[in-house]
């Protein structure tokens, strides 16, 4: 019996009759990103008003801090950091799912109006149908409606390229205008944090919204693992994937629904932080040296990018609070322009 040669760049894990191929570079990068994220967490926790050094943070996190330090770290700083990480994970995953499904680097929930739909729903519920708490649960509703409208307009987004994106942009302009109008009926003082939230803001988030969102994301993780493999096959085209045993329409619909829910959950915490969902899979695919962005790597990239932007904006804007989304908008705009110029020879 001849043995099949293992592909290069892969670790083989054998457990009795079962063997698992682990993409070496992806795993190395995964570990690296986790370390970066941990470092950023400590750094972000140590920054802010009131003196708290990196060493104090580490001491407090390992349970050796004073009472005051514990309050500062666990009650004030850490919720914001956790919110940025969870939202970043969700955005990275959602961006990767939709990009792979539509086969277009620019097709991300923030470009095609899904995030705008989510934030419009939250704004409407928060302003007009107040039901007590922060209505984070309204965001999947709005996202699903926006996505339904978009996919009713574009039947074959995989083959439409830039057309799909431009239609998505028009849709997000429309939804954004409606949201602006809803907010313009109220004075700024009355709006409170909603105005900043619609730009993507993480100051003052509490565990109250972070917890349910994180829990739901965790529940969706097995589904994503399930969908990961058939999704990777879809890149060869519908017909080939069908021949390889993928139930194409079912997978497409499932991935889309999953992506929308995940994107909406990402929006629910800190508002629509733009361009993270676009940048994360691009960074992930560059790190993995693979055209297809690995889902988990992309999620981690999203978390690193969002936490990094949040920390950057906190440092730059001291002592004022500036929404994180403004920083990502600035950086993301530059990224988008670079992508377009790089792809200049390609037609529409």
């Amino acid at each position: 019996m001849t043995s099949i040669p293992t592909p290069s760049g892969v670790w083989t894990l054998r457990l009795g009759g079962i063997s698992l191929l682990l993409h070496r570079r992806s795993w190395l990068m995964f570990t690296l990103l986790v370390l970066v994220l941990l470092g950023l967490t400590v750094l972000a926790t140590s920054l802010g008003s009131g003196h708290l050094g990196v060493r104090d943070v580490i001491a407090t996190l390992t349970g050796n801090g004073s009472r005051l330090q514990e309050i500062m770290v666990f009650k004030i700083r850490l919720p914001r950091v956790a919110a940025a990480i969870i939202a970043g994970l969700a955005m990275g995953m959602a961006g990767c799912l939709i990009q792979t499904l539509v086969r277009n680097r620019l097709a991300t929930p923030d470009m095609i109006g899904v995030n705008e739909g989510a934030s419009l729903a939250v704004v409407v519920f928060a302003l007009y149908l107040t039901l007590g708490n922060w209505p984070w649960w309204a965001s999947p509703l709005g996202a699903a409606l926006a996505a339904a409208a978009l996919f009713a307009l574009c039947r074959r987004p995989g083959e439409q390229g830039y057309l799909f994106i431009v239609i998505g942009i028009a849709l997000s302009e429309l939804l954004g205008a409606l949201g602006d109008f809803a907010m313009s009926t109220q004075p700024l003082a009355h709006l409170g944090s909603i105005y900043l939230w619609t730009m993507g803001h993480f100051a003052g988030v509490s565990y109250q919204t972070v917890k349910p969102v994180a829990l739901l994301l965790l529940l969706l993780c097995p589904l994503m693992a399930l969908v990961n493999r058939p999704l990777a096959l879809l890149r060869f085209g519908d017909a080939t994937a069908q021949n390889l045993g993928v139930k194409v329409p079912l997978v497409q619909l499932g991935v889309l629904a999953l992506a929308i829910v995940v994107a909406a959950l990402g929006t629910a915490i800190g508002g629509p932080v733009v361009f993270i969902a676009m940048a994360a899979p691009i960074l992930a695919s560059w790190l993995a040296r693979d055209n297809l962005a690995p889902l988990w790597l992309s999620a981690l990239c999203g978390a690193v990018l969002l936490l990094g932007s949040d920390t950057l904006v906190r440092v730059l804007a001291q002592p004022e609070e500036i929404p994180t989304g403004i920083m990502t908008r600035l950086l993301g705009g530059i990224l988008l322009l670079g992508l377009l110029l790089k792809d200049r020879r390609g037609a529409d």
Partner: protein, 338 residues
């Protein structure tokens, strides 16, 4: 002139008169068209009414005139940009030029304490110039084969400018409340003074645009063809840059950023006159004024006693129109000169 164009001109002119009357006759205050026209024509009964004078001079007349100036400016700027980039989807709002003008104005507001209409014009003009330069540069780099990509480049530029403007505004907290309304695009704050300051410049932009028409029409055949016919394409582009910057600055300093209007007006004009730019400009101006007047009357009337910002209304109407046009692929057939 073909029959369709004649008919459009007559119908458009008639509609413009109707809308002007409506615009003067609706709004806060109980006065109808008869009172307003009586006042404007100098009938002694009406002139004696102080309240009527206040309503007409500070509310309705400036607003109506501003709608005409802003509508015409944005429409002409869009027509020029469409010809220069050979892209039927181009317009100041979609390409990020408006966002550049807003950034300029925000810098003027925060660091130089600008308060006059002249200052607004200057600073928004500087920002619009930057935006136009970048957009035309990116357009040249992308080439003419990608009208959709230029829109995405406009989104990118808009994001960069908008991000910077918001960063400055929120980090200094100067004039945030006013800016928030102004940034939606509205004619409700216009005054006769401001209209008087801006109008001559808008007329200058219009004159410059008409001077460029013949050359731009020929340039639609391609740069090398146009050069063979003796046209200095570089100078023409520079003229387009100047005219569209001036016109965008005029519109922004009167009404704030208003998107989709120029695109809609120029698109409709192109459907009626596909080749000759001078006629296209005529129709574009007419449509721009018509659309903005109609939208402004609607915005006053829809949600009484509240007011819908006219920029929001136009975005809500223009975005579906853009979707429909892009979906039909109608913009591609307009790329070729028939």
């Amino acid at each position: 002139m073909p029959a369709l164009q004649k008919a459009t001109l007559i119908a458009g002119g008639g509609l413009l008169l109707v809308l002007l009357t409506l615009s003067l006759a609706t709004g806060a205050g109980v006065y109808g068209a008869d009172a307003v026209f009586g006042y404007l024509l100098g009938q002694p009964d009406y002139v004696a009414d102080d309240k009527l004078a206040m309503v007409v001079d500070t509310l309705r007349l400036p607003r109506t005139l501003a709608a005409l100036v802003v509508g015409a400016s944005l429409a002409i700027a869009a027509s020029l940009l469409q010809s220069a980039t050979r892209n039927p989807l181009a317009e100041p709002g979609l390409l990020g030029v408006n966002a550049g003008a807003v950034l300029g104005l925000v810098i003027g507001l925060i660091y130089f304490g600008v308060e006059s209409t002249r200052g607004y014009l200057l600073w928004s003009g500087a920002g619009a110039l930057l935006g136009n330069l970048l957009v035309l540069g990116v357009g040249l780099m992308l080439g003419q084969a990608s009208p959709l990509k230029l829109i995405l480049a406009g989104v990118a530029l808009g994001a960069i400018f908008g991000g910077l403007a918001n960063f400055l505004l929120l980090s200094t907290r100067v004039a945030l409340e006013q800016f928030r309304f102004w940034n939606l695009g509205s004619l409700s704050a216009s005054s006769l003074d401001a209209v008087g300051t801006v109008s001559p410049l808008a007329v200058l932009g219009l004159v410059l645009a008409t001077l460029l028409c013949r050359q731009l029409t020929l340039m639609q055949m391609g740069d090398s063809q146009a050069r063979a016919l003796g046209i200095h394409t570089g100078w023409v582009r520079l003229g387009v840059l100047a005219a569209s910057t001036l016109l965008t600055a005029c519109a922004i300093s009167l009404a704030g950023p208003i998107g989709f209007l120029g695109f809609l007006a120029a698109y409709c004009a192109r459907r009626i006159e596909p080749v000759a730019l001078l006629r296209q400009l005529l129709f574009s101006t007419l449509f721009g004024m018509l659309f903005l007047l109609a939208a402004d009357v609607l915005s006053r009337w829809l949600l009484q006693p509240y007011e819908l910002p006219v920029g929001t209304l136009l975005a809500a109407l223009g975005a579906p129109a853009l979707i429909a046009i892009v979906l039909r692929g109608g913009f591609r057939s307009l790329l070729t000169v028939r």
